[in-house]
Symmetry: C2
Subunit: 396 residues, 2 copies
């Protein structure tokens, strides 16, 4: 029942935006958009008129959609002729999430729904999704609690001489057993992530397509992100940057482990990251301007003498320090240059100040927070501190 | 160097098709398409004129693209004004893979490349990609050999009383340690897969969005496929249907395990699946008609008295018995009703005859094969037979 109320509120919010933009309705086709508004990600289409009851049309599986969805009017996917009767009328303006829907889908819709005008509602959708209900915040908090348990176990399963991919495999295994769904959705068509990034020492210097401070080498040019077959070396920082996914909701965290001893430069950069986190979180309130929080983070980095390696190596520095998370990893808002928008209560944001230290690798922290009048509320409880690991195995 | 030659041949094949369709060039933007033609999946754009040298423009990371790509003319992504000069001319017809590119990308391209006509080349791309070079076949064979090793280890890590997700986690862990990249690409915008489907007993009866014989319950309505938290029960078939990914190339396999004893109905259905595999593979030759191989499979199922539960429960039966695999899991051709196309040498196809047995679950076999004049060449060597597992733990 909680989900039913959730979906009703989400649809009412969408309808309010449709009215404001003078649109006659919205067609929701993309799987995670359908899940958000209808409670199911089966293969189908949700028609949300500007006012009145929504209509859910399901290709596959109707049986399962009936179990899951909170939409009362749920029908098997109709013939093209019937579809024309059911969805809007000629002359109407209909919203689509054009940021993700393929061009071929638009061509199909133009054919079966002639004389409608299709309008991009990506911005509306992303803005609505960025503000979480208490129900959604609890989902992310649950994900954060579960993922924190895996982070706490790293010293139990880390073994000297492991390759990055071995440790990643063990981490992923425990996360899955705790119930993480594994599949991480990203909205940008050119971004992909397989669960997380495990990057040790020099692997952090390999730049990549990923829109973050660090990408990692990955296992091939086809999957060029995350853990590689490089052996984790002693006395170098190891960053474990992972997601967990529960009921579709993603939490995003990073922790630093060091096999052996922590170099003073590494500790200095880490302490600076914690100070950035502290100050940004104190300011993570409704009305704060997203870009100003990035400026705040940058200025702390510069004061600590680390401006040149904040969020990347010189020339490849990312110009952000945080990003929205929810049903997708790359949600709104972004705490970045140019995002001069005010934060809203219960937006959920991963804050990740990180430094690329020449000769050491990547150092930093990442937690997921909810925007609140008292400052950010932490949703990922694991201890922030660097954890040291044995540099060498016990003599056998 | 092998990759450079590969990419040159792929681009020459594309240019030949562009000429045939009287297109002036193609713009390749989608990550896995870029990887296929340029050898890198960094964030950027490949311009392939109808004839002459291609041009690769990279947003991020230029450094990494230079390491990976075989395109000689590789440049940083230009300003919009420069882009207009570099990519085609007004009046020209330019191909795009409209099956996957978002509508918003088309809107952007129309702005920066005015007066060009954009034409869908999805079919050309999918057909080119369906036929593998010997280099590509070897990639899939390697994936098949590695994944076969994980299948062989299942009796070592299976424990009575495990939940589906526990066994899935252990399977995935070993596959990752052997080097599987994990991230499985699918082309259809409404399909998703997290590594594989592990489905025991009654979990097979849960229908779902997934375009296959079986979907599994998954962990939530947001990720409604694959392993669930259900405990694996004795005397019921357990289907382990998994992919492995190496250098982006996917292999697809299924095996049946039974904790305890094999019911005669399960054995009968399994033997029928093997017979379907045997006959379809014998016919997997250039020139064979894809839909006729599905008909052949269906008729063997019907003769064995299993027509009603072939590839799904009545009313939700999938109308295919095999699908192309390569850089994506849902490649061409499909051995399905309506696909009246001849097979081509070195198309790589996963053949997966499966039965949904009332009261038991799913039973069948899946291997990946290359089309060959002598009949299908096996790329996934693991033993086909059902493996029995202990029904109960050793008394302690």
């Amino acid at each position: 029942m909680a989900l039913k109320t959730e979906c009703q509120v989400r649809i009412a919010n969408l309808q309010q935006q449709l009215q404001r933009k003078e649109l006659d309705g919205a067609l929701i086709l993309y799987p995670i958009d359908l899940y958000y508004f209808a409670g199911t990600r089966q293969n189908g289409m949700l028609w949300v008129p500007q006012s009145g009851e929504p209509l859910l049309l399901i290709r596959k599986s109707l049986t399962r959609a009936r179990q899951e969805s909170c939409i009362d009017d749920l029908r098997p996917f109709p013939s093209s002729r019937q579809l024309t009767e059911l969805v809007g009328r000629p002359g109407q303006r209909i919203g689509l999430t054009c940021d993700v829907l393929p061009i071929a889908q638009l061509d199909y819709l133009k054919k079966v729904l002639p004389e409608r005008e299709f309008v991009d509602i990506s911005g509306i959708n992303r803005n609505l999704r960025s503000v979480k209900s208490p129900f959604e915040v609890e989902k992310i908090r649950h994900a954060g609690e579960q993922l924190s348990k895996v982070f706490a176990q790293v010293p139990d399963f880390y073994q000297p001489g492991m390759r990055e991919v071995d440790l990643a495999a063990e981490f992923e295994c425990r996360s899955r057993k705790l119930g993480s769904e594994g599949y991480v959705r990203m909205r940008a068509y050119n971004q992909e992530l397989f669960q997380g990034l495990l990057v040790a020492g020099g692997s952090a210097n390999q730049p990549g397509f990923f829109d973050g401070a660090v990408t990692g080498c990955g296992l091939s040019a086809a999957s060029p992100h995350g853990a590689s077959t490089a052996v984790i070396r002693p006395d170098m920082p190891l960053m474990v940057d992972y997601t967990a996914v529960y009921d579709g909701y993603i939490v995003d965290m990073s922790r630093i482990f060091v096999p052996g001893s922590i170099h003073p430069d590494v500790q200095h950069a880490f302490d600076t990251a914690l100070e950035i986190q502290r100050q940004v979180i104190a300011a993570l309130r409704p009305g704060a301007i997203a870009s100003e929080l990035f400026d705040l983070a940058s200025s702390i980095a510069a004061e600590a003498g680390l401006g040149e390696c904040f969020m990347g190596v010189p020339g490849e520095q990312a110009k952000f320090v945080g990003h929205g998370v929810g049903l997708e990893l790359d949600e709104m808002p972004v705490l970045a240059k140019g995002f001069d928008v005010p934060l809203q209560q219960n937006q959920t944001i991963a804050i990740e100040p990180k430094f690329l230290l020449d000769g050491h690798g990547v150092v930093g922290i990442e937690n997921t927070w909810a925007v609140d009048p008292e400052g950010g509320i932490r949703l990922s409880p694991a201890d922030d501190r660097i954890v040291t690991l044995p540099a060498q195995g016990e003599p056998s």
